[in-house]
């Protein structure tokens, strides 16, 4: 089973602009254990159930509206695991916001960073969002996560019109 989408078939082609050696494709059921393992390596937190449920939910969602993409090497001889993944979906009218593509997760294998993997994933997701009919994408990054902030900035993202607020509950 793979997450379905009309634009998804072309995701690899679009991503090629960011790196000829990197292909981006829809996630398959067999990728999820690798996604969970990569996420655990990067965040230090194991959450396999979350990734499995996200995959199942996105597989059943309308094309383009929800995308779960993975990046892998284009080299035929390469049998290495996936190099990264991105999760995104179009949400509408929450917080008063017009339809907008949300990047909910993005991770790149640490040893594969600075080789265009993140950019390929980001551009493929942008293509998904465009195919879904939205013209804006959004994400949220921890203030102290300088690496992710630098990456999203380098992709042209800037502070948006919303402020995130929170409160400790007694």
């Amino acid at each position: 089973m793979a997450v379905k989408s009309a634009a998804r078939a072309g995701a690899g082609t679009q991503a090629a602009a960011a790196g000829d050696k990197i292909a981006v494709r829809p996630a398959r059921a067999t990728d999820i254990s690798q996604v969970a393992a990569l996420d655990k390596r990067v965040t230090g937190l194991a959450k396999p159930d979350y990734w499995q449920q996200a995959f199942e939910r996105y597989s059943a969602a309308p094309a383009h509206a929800c995308s779960f993409l993975v990046a892998e090497s284009r080299e035929p001889s390469s049998r290495q695991p996936i190099l990264g993944f991105i999760l995104g979906e179009v949400r509408a009218w929450e917080f008063g916001s017009a339809p907008c593509g949300w990047v909910l997760a993005l991770s790149v294998e640490p040893r594969a960073r600075l080789h265009g993997v993140g950019q390929a994933l980001f551009e493929a997701m942008a293509a998904e969002f465009k195919a879904a009919g939205v013209r804006q994408m959004r994400t949220m990054v921890a203030r102290d996560n300088r690496l992710h902030l630098m990456f999203f900035r380098s992709e042209g993202m800037t502070a948006g019109p919303y402020l995130q607020l929170e409160k400790e509950l007694d």
């Binding site: 300088r146 900035r153 380098s154 800037t158 502070a159």
Partner: protein
């Protein structure tokens, strides 16, 4: 927020030098572009040199070259060479509750400003400059 003139000059000089990374410029050339005295600019370049962001090139056509990593050098890295951002002591205790809550709000604002400046690299700024020159959006939403 406002930046001190030395911070602004330093950012401009680094952008000019890093645009093509091997570019070599004399202090007078950079100073003329931004209307800054060579004397002031030379002091700024000395600080950037000590930070490893530029190196002096000697000779008749001497000047400076960029020697940092444009994809990893942020505005915050540069600005903090010349000025301290935000309150002198974020953990300071104010003598009144009113003073403390106001202090907390100002620290919150400073934290956001620092996160923003710490996320924008010289490479991202150069992309924005390039896009602006080629007719892209004039807002801060230009591609980084």
């Amino acid at each position: 927020m406002k930046l001190q003139i030395s911070s602004r000059i330093a950012i401009f000089a680094l952008l000019d030098l890093a645009a093509p990374p091997e570019r070599q410029l004399a202090v007078a050339e950079i100073g003329a572009k931004y209307g800054v005295s060579s004397h002031h600019l030379a002091k700024v370049m000395q600080v950037l040199g000590r930070a490893g962001l530029v190196r002096a090139v000697r000779g008749a056509r001497g000047g400076y070259q960029f020697s940092g990593n444009a994809r990893r050098t942020t505005l915050l890295d540069v600005i903090e060479l010349f000025e301290q951002l935000g309150p002198a002591d974020a953990d300071a205790e104010e003598p009144t509750d009113e003073g403390q809550v106001l202090h907390d709000v100002l620290v919150e604002i400073d934290d956001i400003a620092r996160a923003t400046l710490g996320s924008i690299t010289l490479a991202t700024l150069l992309k924005q400059v390039d896009r602006r020159r080629h007719g892209g959006p004039r807002t801060a939403a230009a591609t980084g």
